[in-house]
């Protein structure tokens, strides 16, 4: 019990330090996106005041309403002021506040990305482990070829291909539009993650529908990241296999599965976990094509739509959100690394 007391304060201090160190980076992100959006050609007021008969007066009115007629430093001050109160601005594309849009859409992206990550780990951990175990064999060559193939096919191609085969041709997948069958009522929102919400509500029909909708987009995303995860697992496992304790374990005649899972994989997980962090953050921001193909109401497609129409607030909000997520994910990964290997948490 006394150990816990010693353990907690450094952990909290570490989290605090890490978050504090992230603040300047966050400010830079805010400043950079703010300026970038305004430097890009494309005037949101012109784009949105585009009804027939809408002339210069309407464009000016909209500019004023959006505060775009003020000098840039003043706009920035207003933006920071609003940020401090949690107001991310309004989206012209959806007509809602950006914070509300994010609140509605972030769970969709998170659910998709987490599922995809789970899929890719389920595939790449065994693949990497076994490829390393029999490294140099035909099987290893096959795994290498498989990874290269997965990595070569861009997600928008594999996505359309999967839709074509499993929905259009075979008819075994549900229609690739959104998170749940459109004719079904959504489970009451608690976390926004449909699998969890429907499970909590005990609505197993909705759970199965939501899970069914997840399979194809998550597979599409998973395919693309199988390669880095498998290769990283393989490399890590190979380096561990040369270690003294593995030789000892073998010499002592421990069963193969035990050596593989308990002594090898556990010790090889560190670099894999670091890669998982990077892969997760990349997937969150880069799954825009998958979201488009599967009409997934996530944050990435939302940000892309906003970018195309020069809608400043959603793009800024999205990048800020991604930056925060990136920082959080790295923190969580760091803490998990500490769990895997207590040496890491020693500062």
């Amino acid at each position: 019990m006394s150990a816990e007391k010693h353990l907690l304060p450094p952990l909290v201090r570490r989290i605090g330090l890490r978050l504090g160190a992230a603040l300047p980076a966050l400010f830079c992100v805010i400043l950079f996106t703010f300026i970038m959006m305004r430097v890009l050609p494309g005037d949101p007021a012109v784009y949105f005041a585009s009804g027939p008969n809408a002339g210069q007066a309407e464009i000016q009115e909209l500019r004023h309403k959006m505060g775009l007629d003020a000098p840039m430093p003043v706009q920035l001050l207003h933006y920071l002021e609003n940020l401090a109160t949690g107001d991310l601005g309004r989206s012209l594309t959806t007509g809602q506040s950006v914070a509300q849009d994010m609140h509605e859409r972030l769970p969709a992206s998170l659910e998709l990305t987490l599922t995809a990550l789970a899929f890719s780990l389920l595939i790449s951990l065994p693949l990497g482990l076994t490829a390393a175990w029999w490294s140099g064999s035909k099987y290893d060559q096959f795994v290498r070829a498989f990874c290269s193939a997965c990595f070569c096919i861009p997600p928008f191609v594999s996505g359309i291909l999967l839709v074509y085969v499993f929905y259009y041709w075979l008819g075994v997948a549900p229609d690739p539009t959104g998170r749940i069958n459109i004719f079904l009522p959504q489970p009451p929102r608690l976390t926004g993650l449909l699998l969890i919400d429907s499970a909590l509500a005990g609505d197993w029909t909705a759970w199965h529908e939501a899970a069914g909708q997840l399979v194809l987009p998550a597979m599409t995303m998973a395919l693309f990241v199988i390669a880095p995860l498998t290769r990283m697992t393989r490399a890590a496992v190979i380096s561990v296999l040369g270690a003294d304790y593995i030789r000892t374990a073998r010499a002592m005649g421990l069963p193969t599965w035990r050596i593989m899972i308990v002594y090898t994989l556990r010790n090889a997980l560190m670099p894999v976990l670091t890669t998982v962090g990077i892969v997760f953050s990349t997937m969150m921001g880069a799954n825009v094509l998958v979201e488009k193909i599967f009409s997934w109401p996530g944050v990435a497609s939302y940000a892309l739509d906003a970018l195309v129409s020069s809608d400043y607030a959603p793009v800024q909000g999205f990048i800020l959100l991604m930056a925060c997520l990136f920082i959080l994910v790295n923190l969580v990964i760091d803490l998990l690394l500490g769990v895997l290997d207590p040496r890491v948490s020693v500062e």
């Binding site: 353990l7 012109v46 008969n53 959806t94 007509g95 359309i160 195309v308 129409s309």
Partner: protein
């Protein structure tokens, strides 16, 4: 030693466990609670962003939705073309109004409301509601105000309550577009008692509230609205503005990927889509599993615009040379696979054209003449220019740009192709920074004069070629308030002649709207706002 609650073993186990839970098989044929037959599922690449179509920045899908949710005083009639129908620009009829009388001097409109008209909340529609709604159109800062001004409707004093169910509208001059403006998507009639409850001193017209809520009385009410994702409507059984709709429930869903939309229709999971890509439509029609209604978008035109205020396109001879150099037929075939109506190659010799716009103009390719014209213009060796188009137009504009580049190369003009993101394209268009580009326009009121007023006069964005012709302005002003029909026809013909003579822009074609539906869907009507009218659709 005390153990940390999350250790290697539990972490691994929980990760694998979560993964395994997600791979449970997907059950087939789960029962759907709603009756599918009475539900229409519409898929679209666009998105509804507001329930109030007059909001600055509202999308075309928002206009379309509001036509099903809100009533206007008037509406255009429809006429059949084969198995489907199109709106009839020459026939205005009452929607919320039962009848409309025009005074002899054409300066007063008297509208009588339907006796049985009720709002979605069941309360009767009153003349006060109508007065408030009309006032809102001309007072609030919205898209309705500039639209209404095109019908000489500019101040609240013009609208007078003349009885419990009667409204009088007075006009400063007889304006031929006043009544048509009452049928426009912006002219929504609002339940003022309900809307006023949500008005504030900063927002006297409840614009904020009406973006995400409705105070309407149209054929459908909004059950659920997720901006950018989907909208669900249910039928309003107290609606009497037209024939009662067949469908009890409408789901309008945003599906960004055109190929996915095509797949949904072909597998029968969606019922109607109107925005597929031409190549998907060709493939669908070959396989024959869907029904396709193709109709020329009669109020729409695709064109090439010049910046007529800057060199070299400020020279009319240069514009004429380009009009002579273009391979119209090839453009039509390559760009939209011939799915539309050409607006070139007319023969006007010896007769005046009908006073219509858009209509085919007498332009055709003649490379020899084009070279001579360019030499006469002072550019015997041609010049360099840039041709621009917006990213959203890529499928049609890309082949078009390549053909134009090649054709103008033959007369010595070097064309650089510039594909611009939509927001940038629109901004440059509004700022007059595009020299030569393509775009498509659709006018809501199919009167020749209205098109000329909108697209060829004044310093505003829709004057695509930034044309400044005092003669055109004069003709448009005259035609607008013209009460003598023969004089109006003559003025429209003069406008057309001026257009052909000065070539501020080159008309190419009117694209088709292809409504792709499941085979048992009937009653599609092409509407000038180019969205689906759910009210007329039915299942056979």
């Amino acid at each position: 030693m005390a153990r940390h609650p999350l250790n290697r073993r539990t972490f691994l186990a929980s990760t694998l466990g979560a993964g395994a839970a997600l791979t449970l098989p997907y059950p087939q044929g789960s029962a759907l609670a709603q009756s599918r037959r009475a539900t229409l599922r519409h898929v679209t690449g666009g998105a509804v962003n507001t329930l109030d179509p007059t909001m600055l920045g509202s999308t075309r899908e928002s206009f379309g939705l509001s036509m099903n949710v809100y009533d206007r005083l008037m509406t255009f009639g429809s006429r059949p073309i084969g198995a489907f129908a199109t709106f009839d620009p020459t026939h205005l009829q009452g929607e919320l109004a039962e009848s409309c009388e025009i005074s002899a001097d054409q300066r007063n409109l008297t509208l009588h409301l339907r006796d049985n008209a009720v709002w979605h909340d069941g309360t009767p529609v009153t003349a006060e509601d109508i007065k408030w709604s009309l006032d809102r159109c001309v007072s609030a800062n919205s898209l309705a105000r500039p639209q209404f001004s095109s019908g000489s409707l500019t101040t609240p004093d013009q609208f007078r309550i003349a009885g419990e169910r009667t409204i009088e509208i007075s006009l400063p001059k007889p304006d031929r577009l006043a009544m048509a403006n009452l049928a426009m998507p912006y002219a929504i009639m609002v339940n003022s008692r309900l809307a006023r409850q949500h008005a504030t001193s900063d927002d006297p017209w409840a614009q904020q509230w009406l973006q995400h809520n409705t105070a309407a009385g149209g054929a459908f009410r909004v059950e659920n609205f997720k901006p950018g994702v989907n909208v669900t409507l249910t039928r309003h059984d107290g609606w009497h503005g037209g024939v009662a709709p067949f469908f009890e429930r409408i789901i309008s869903q945003t599906v960004p990927e055109a190929t996915t939309r095509a797949g949904l229709i072909e597998r029968g999971d969606a019922d109607i889509v109107i925005d597929l890509e031409a190549y998907d439509i060709m493939a669908l029609s070959r396989r024959g599993k869907v029904h396709i209604d193709s109709v020329v978008e009669s109020n729409c035109f695709t064109h090439l615009a010049f910046n007529t205020q800057s060199a070299p396109f400020n020279n009319v001879l240069v514009r004429r040379a380009i009009a002579l150099a273009l391979p119209y037929q090839d453009l039509f075939a390559a760009s939209i696979f011939g799915r539309g109506k050409p607006l070139y190659g007319a023969d006007w010799s010896g007769q005046s054209p009908a006073p219509d716009f858009p209509q085919p103009l007498p332009f055709s390719q003649n490379v020899q003449k084009a070279r001579e014209m360019l030499a006469k213009a002072g550019h015997p060796d041609g010049f360099h220019t840039t041709f621009s188009y917006a990213t959203s137009q890529t499928t049609t504009a890309e082949p078009m740009a390549a053909l134009i580049q090649e054709a103008l190369g033959h007369i010595g003009i070097t064309v650089r192709i510039d594909k611009l993101p939509d927001a940038q394209f629109n901004t440059m268009q509004a700022r007059r920074q595009l020299d030569f580009y393509t775009d498509t326009a659709a006018g809501w009121i199919e009167h020749a004069y209205y098109f000329f007023y909108l697209y060829f006069t004044r310093d505003q964005r829709w004057n695509f070629s930034n044309w400044n012709s005092p003669h055109m302005v004069e003709l448009v002003e005259k035609a607008r308030f013209e009460t003598d029909e023969a004089a109006y026809v003559a003025e429209c013909q003069a406008m057309l002649d001026l257009l052909v003579n000065q070539v501020p822009l080159i008309l190419l074609w009117q694209p088709n709207m292809d409504a792709v539906t499941v085979p048992d869907l009937t009653g599609f009507t092409y509407q000038y706002y180019r969205q689906v009218d759910f009210r007329t659709l039915a299942r056979s």
